[in-house]
Symmetry: C2
């Protein structure tokens, strides 16, 4: 099967969760918009039914959007755990909780409108960021910490797409809010260990060291604005 | 199968999308927290793995959270369309787009924090509401309008959970922002007709006229604050 991923060029964004699944599985994929900047416009502007937003995965005649839906389909396709309909449904709930958390993280720097620059909603962003740091991150991350238990990964001895997504969540938050995450770190030993365990997977380590891994930057979902981090 | 739905008592909220599926299918369900106010605390406070947030559906030994995940499982279980794995995956993408739209609608009256009262984020809410009305609603609803085409329902001659959810979206927005929706109405003839078609389904009409249907009110996701609607 040939796989084409369509995602905004220049950022990791939500597309990174799909990339990590391919990379962990060692399966090739065409990251279309990184070599062809008009690709996103074409796939979003096509005849109905067209996807609402990237990421979009094309696999044969399947055109699939929404990160969690892509991963629910792609995980089994790539042979990633978990096995079994019931456990996959469980993983999908966790993935959808990550979707919600990421939406809250995004809206922290864009609390008023995606169409406005950060600088035009900075006052509101600073106000929202305090609630993210003090209420929402402890609630979400604490819930995942509880879920992890003492297993190396959520569903056994290999990472699922949820484990890969938790790695990316911790990596992104540590880039965006290093002081807030340092303060939370003692309460999240399992998530911290999971992050390190995923980063050390041979294929993931090779990916992170390759030019395929784009750096975090101030255009993605995880953005470092010093004034949104915990006070120094 | 016995079904128990756990959702915040006193509001329609996201739980309503699950209720509408049961009502259209004519299948009984126990709306647990409406008769037992401590039920939500118990199910969220139980041992891990516990759900992150309501709605939660319990069916036998299955405990399932996230509205879109519940509907992806429940639709086929209740015999609602579509049939076939590929079309169900398509429906799930549309349902997840509704999830995203509802999150934006919610955050319009809560742009800073869910833990703050509306009155404490009213200035920011008024600013965000303008972007919702002028940019986001036309984008989302226009996209669904395109998808509907000329069929009575998205997947044939009976409503899917997506059709039921679109009914509720139009009903809720019309309650919350009557002037903005009146202005959009000429551009959304298919969605308006779908809303009326669903409301006239015998089981849905009976539900809407029953005490099981709670009224819209200023505590749910769809809230009418005159200052957030389009200018008079």
């Amino acid at each position: 099967m040939d796989y084409q991923l369509y995602y905004w060029p220049g950022i990791q964004g939500r597309g990174e969760l799909v990339r990590l699944a391919f990379e962990e599985a060692g399966v090739a994929y065409d990251d279309v918009a990184r070599r062809d900047k008009g690709a996103i416009t074409r796939i979003l502007g096509g005849p109905a039914p067209r996807p609402f937003a990237p990421p979009v995965l094309v696999a044969g005649d399947l055109v699939l959007s929404h990160t969690a839906a892509i991963l629910a389909w792609l995980g089994p396709e790539l042979g990633l755990p978990p096995d079994g309909a019931r456990e996959r449904l469980h993983a999908h709930q966790l993935q959808l909780t990550i979707t919600d958390l990421w939406a809250e993280i995004h809206d922290t720097h864009h609390p008023i409108a995606v169409s406005l620059y950060y600088e035009d909603q900075k006052v509101e962003a600073e106000r929202r960021a305090g609630h993210l740091r003090d209420e929402r991150l402890p609630k979400y991350l604490g819930w995942f910490e509880d879920h992890l238990g003492d297993r190396p990964y959520l569903y056994g001895d290999r990472p699922s797409t949820v484990d890969l997504s938790l790695f990316q969540t911790i990596a992104g938050l540590t880039y965006a809010m290093p002081r807030a995450m340092a303060a939370l770190h003692p309460r999240l030993p399992r998530l911290a260990a999971l992050h390190d365990r995923v980063a050390a997977r041979p294929r993931i380590a090779a990916y992170l060291a390759s030019p395929r891994r784009q750096p975090f930057n101030p255009h993605g979902i995880f953005r470092h604005y010093d004034e949104l981090d915990a006070p120094a």
